[in-house]
């Protein structure tokens, strides 16, 4: 219990800050405190919740917000695939709770510990639950703050872009991955200008993921060695 708290404290601290910012932005987008609580409890995905707030402000439809959240969450597929090897023989209930509380950060902590051995599924779940508690309580606190003080959300919502930039950089594990990011950016810009539709984003990302894969496969120079 104590060791779990120790291992998760850096993430819990950053979740408290990010969660508060997210709560402010959600409240400003028009969600009530109860809805913020429910969203953090049931969705529990920081990037998705920030994205939902900014899309609601832009007047996007419910269906298109859900679709964008889905694409944003596709990255979790990979985390599940990577962790699955360490979680064989776990019950359905365990897998359900563990996957609900799987985030970029809890994946980061747990994956490296599992890989180094000396880590049990129980400890992994405990860490995830601590982070979860921190996120849910801090988003509600953020909503409360937002309801009491006027805060410029144009600036706060820029926090989302900063978050995505950092999450992109964390994925730069080889030159081919950096190349995929460049292809994705350029393809998305060209397609957005050409199609004048949000679907450009999805197309750009799909094209770039295959481009990255092919670059990785074909050119030995681009193979990541660092």
């Amino acid at each position: 219990m104590i060791s779990g708290l120790k291992a998760s404290s850096p993430v819990m601290t950053s979740y408290a800050a990010l969660g508060a910012a997210c709560g402010v932005v959600l409240f400003d987008a028009g969600f009530s405190l109860g809805e913020i609580f429910l969203m953090s409890l049931l969705v529990y995905a920081g990037a998705a919740q920030f994205l939902a707030a900014s899309l609601v402000v832009l007047g996007a439809s419910t269906a298109s917000i859900i679709l964008m959240v889905f694409f944003l969450n596709l990255r979790h597929l990979l985390m599940g695939v990577s962790l699955s090897g360490f979680l064989k023989k776990q019950s359905l209930g365990y897998l359900g709770l563990f996957s609900h509380t799987l985030t970029d950060e809890s994946f980061g902590i747990n994956y490296s510990r599992f890989r180094d051995g000396k880590w049990t599924p129980r400890e992994a779940l405990l860490i995830s639950l601590f982070n979860y508690a921190s996120w849910v309580s801090s988003t509600v606190a953020g909503g409360l703050i937002g309801s009491q003080f006027p805060i410029d959300t144009l600036i706060m919502s820029y926090a989302l872009i900063a978050m995505f930039l950092c999450m992109m950089v964390m994925q730069f594990v080889s030159k081919a991955h950096v190349a995929a990011a460049l292809v994705s950016g350029i393809a998305t810009i060209i397609l957005t200008i050409w199609l004048q539709h949000n679907i450009a984003l999805v197309l750009g990302a799909v094209i770039a993921s295959f481009a990255g894969y092919l670059l990785d496969e074909n050119s030995p120079d681009l193979k990541g060695s660092e």
Binding site: T62, D152, I155, M163, L165, S184, I189, A205
Partner: protein
Amino acid sequence: MPDRPLILIMGMALVTFIPRFIPLLLFSKLEVSPAIRRWLTFVPVSVFAALIASDIFFWQGEFSLNPVLNLSLFPSALVLLTALKTRSLLWSMTVGVTVMALLSVI
């Protein structure tokens, strides 16, 4: 204001839970081909880059590479440098929000 907040929250919960749960459910029993596994490593970086590009290179709906007209370019460059150096979400967001706040004061 969200149109139907409860439907939105339920929908978001569903599309968040499925990609988290399915691989754990399936692949704790099955093996994934290395090719698919490798392709999957390119999905997140591509999704983030697309989200970022569609936001920072367009200012009020217009494509712009001019940092004087497009106010998100300069903060984004600083955030990118911060992220490359620290790889910390908290630092990146602090730098981004602070620079954006300073720019909006000027």
